[in-house]
């Protein structure tokens, strides 16, 4: 859970990236929606932000990135526009007593880019854990850019999802052919149920003559089943797949998270 201090720091860094006109607009809307009685205006301001705040990216100082990574682990793993950052500020300042209703109502009518900002921002809410159901709903999306905002560089998933939802996030990432390595705290999310589902998936794919992402073995490492070992023995391995699986089968070799990241980047 983020502290009030963290949230204020997030707003402070964000607002330092806006030009005077953008800043005036955002500050005036922050003042309005932070009052409980005005919360119903949140949705229109959140939408209208696209007309007043740039969709460009920020230039960061190293110190700012460090601070942001402390507040929001994974911050640098996904793109944040000034518009995303500003919209998240509007989310943060909503009063905790009403933010759940306001945000869940708005999720129902959010357009594509709004959904991206919303899912990115949930982790920063003081009552973030109350939004895990909505986050799980988000995993079901087929809009790739929205899915990426949930999966990549978003600390919410590992912090608040139950095992089943987390496992769906990983499975869906593979089905949508997304990379696994940008998923925040990916290795913390290893579990036997997931490894079993993934091994069933590998069998399904191989029997259909299809390939699987080499990153899949990251989540299976330590849970490799005998039936898959037998399939591997029968399969003519080559190239990167051969190298990774041989390492996996060798008790004396440990593949580090950095190695797995590198595998994700090149394959």
């Amino acid at each position: 859970m983020t502290s009030k201090q963290d949230r204020n720091k997030f707003i402070e860094i964000t607002t330092s990236k806006l030009n005077p006109k953008e800043l005036d607009w955002l500050n005036s809307k922050i003042n309005i929606v932070s009052k409980t009685e005005n919360a119903k205006k949140f949705g229109v301001f959140f939408s209208l932000a696209s007309r007043f705040i740039s969709k460009g990216f920020c230039e960061w100082k190293i110190s700012e990135v460090e601070e942001l990574k402390n507040i929001y682990p994974g911050f640098k793993k996904s793109p944040w526009t000034k518009l995303d950052l500003s919209r998240v500020c509007l989310m943060i300042v909503l009063d905790k007593t009403i933010n759940k209703k306001v945000l869940l109502d708005f999720f129902k009518i959010a357009e594509m880019k709004e959904q991206i900002s919303l899912y990115k921002g949930l982790f920063l809410l003081s009552n973030a854990s109350e939004f895990s159901h909505q986050f799980t709903e988000g995993i079901r999306t087929n809009m790739v850019n929205v899915f990426d905002s949930l999966a990549q560089g978003n600390p919410f998933a590992q912090a608040y999802l139950n095992e089943n939802s987390w496992n769906q996030l990983i499975l869906k990432s593979l089905f949508m052919e997304r990379k696994l390595y940008p998923i925040q705290d990916i290795d913390k999310g290893k579990n036997e149920n997931l490894a079993n589902m993934l091994q069933d998936y590998i069998k399904e794919r191989w029997v259909a003559g299809r390939e699987v992402s080499l990153e899949i073995w990251r989540m299976i490492d330590g849970f490799l089943r005998d039936d898959i070992k037998a399939l591997i023995a029968k399969r003519g391995l080559e190239g990167n797949e051969k190298e990774i699986i041989e390492k996996l089968l060798d008790q004396n070799i440990t593949i580090s998270p950095e190695d797995w990241d590198a595998i994700g980047k090149i394959n």
Partner: protein
């Protein structure tokens, strides 16, 4: 040649249509909120429909290299269900405020009832409040009177004509619309409304100023390639490239660009679509080979 279809209901169209449209040079579309053939019985259906226009449909179009925009509004047919209409008007502002909403529309008259008139006027005021252009649907029945009345009401609400497209014109209505300073839209349908050849004659007679060609393709017999086909026919029959460019691209950009939500820079330049992004249970591609399409838009 690049084309814009500034009036098409993509929720009713297939992925084949998207592919063919892109191949024909259509780079951007505007999808006006309209009725679905089947009347909606509650506000929730409208809410989900409006959300689809700014969500799933926008994403779907993007996978085929087409930029998707929309207009928001309560259509005239369903304005006659007062109980639902009241609730739709309540939720409309939240959708009007969204990115990529380029106008209020399509609004206007169908049977020209009192209720249609009431909600038409309310929405004209919304257009003023949000500083957006307006797209007017003119009635099929009693078209000429309905068109004149629409323009009278717009003038009464003091919306300047340069912000308004009067759509679905024919040879009988176009002169009055242009004379009063409005933009005149022409819907090219295979059987009803305007045909391609008739449109060529209109262009020859009235030129290319403030005239816009669209397909209004939807769930009925209609052609999502109307704009491109009409443009090509005009070129074949001696209308200049510059005029065709205005009629089938630039005029739409000029009128709806006034919203600040419709910018050529959104689609100019290189646009690579990786369809393998999509392989998933419910997504657009199912079991076909993913391909990477590289579209480079350039003038002509």
């Amino acid at each position: 040649m690049m084309y814009i279809d500034p009036h098409i209901h993509m929720v009713s169209r297939t992925t084949d249509d998207y592919e063919n449209m892109r191949d024909a040079g259509i780079v951007a579309v505007i999808e006006p909120a309209f009725w679905l053939g089947q009347p909606r019985t509650n506000v929730g259906s409208f809410k989900d429909y409006f959300s689809t226009l700014v969500g799933w449909e926008r994403f779907r179009a993007s996978q085929f290299g087409i930029k998707h925009y929309c207009t928001m509004g309560l259509n005239s047919k369903e304005a006659n269900n007062e109980a639902v209409a009241e609730e739709v008007i309540e939720i409309l502002p939240q959708f009007i405020a969204k990115e990529g909403v380029v106008a209020i529309g399509e609004i206007g008259y169908d049977d020209q009832t009192d209720l249609e008139d009431k909600y038409f006027r309310i929405q004209l005021e919304m257009a003023k409040e949000f500083d957006l252009p307006v797209m007017i649907h003119t009635p099929h029945r009693d078209k000429k009177q309905g068109t004149l009345r629409s323009m009278d009401v717009i003038e009464e609400h003091e919306i300047p004509p340069h912000l308004v497209v009067i759509d679905h014109n024919n040879e009988e209505t176009v002169k009055a619309v242009l004379d009063r300073g409005f933009w005149a839209g022409f819907t090219i349908y295979p059987k009803t409304k305007m045909g391609k050849q008739r449109m060529v004659e209109v262009a020859k007679k009235y030129g290319s100023t403030k005239i816009i060609v669209d397909s209004s393709a939807d769930w009925g017999v209609s052609d999502p390639l109307s704009v491109a086909r009409t443009g090509n026919l005009m070129l074949e029959q001696g209308i200049s490239k510059e005029d065709v460019h205005k009629l089938c691209y630039q005029n739409a950009l000029d009128i709806y660009g006034q919203s600040g939500q419709f910018n050529e820079s959104d689609w100019l330049g290189e646009n690579t679509i990786n369809q393998s992004d999509l392989l998933d249970g419910n997504s657009v591609l199912r079991g076909q080979e993913p391909k990477i399409i590289n579209y480079k838009s350039a003038r002509n």
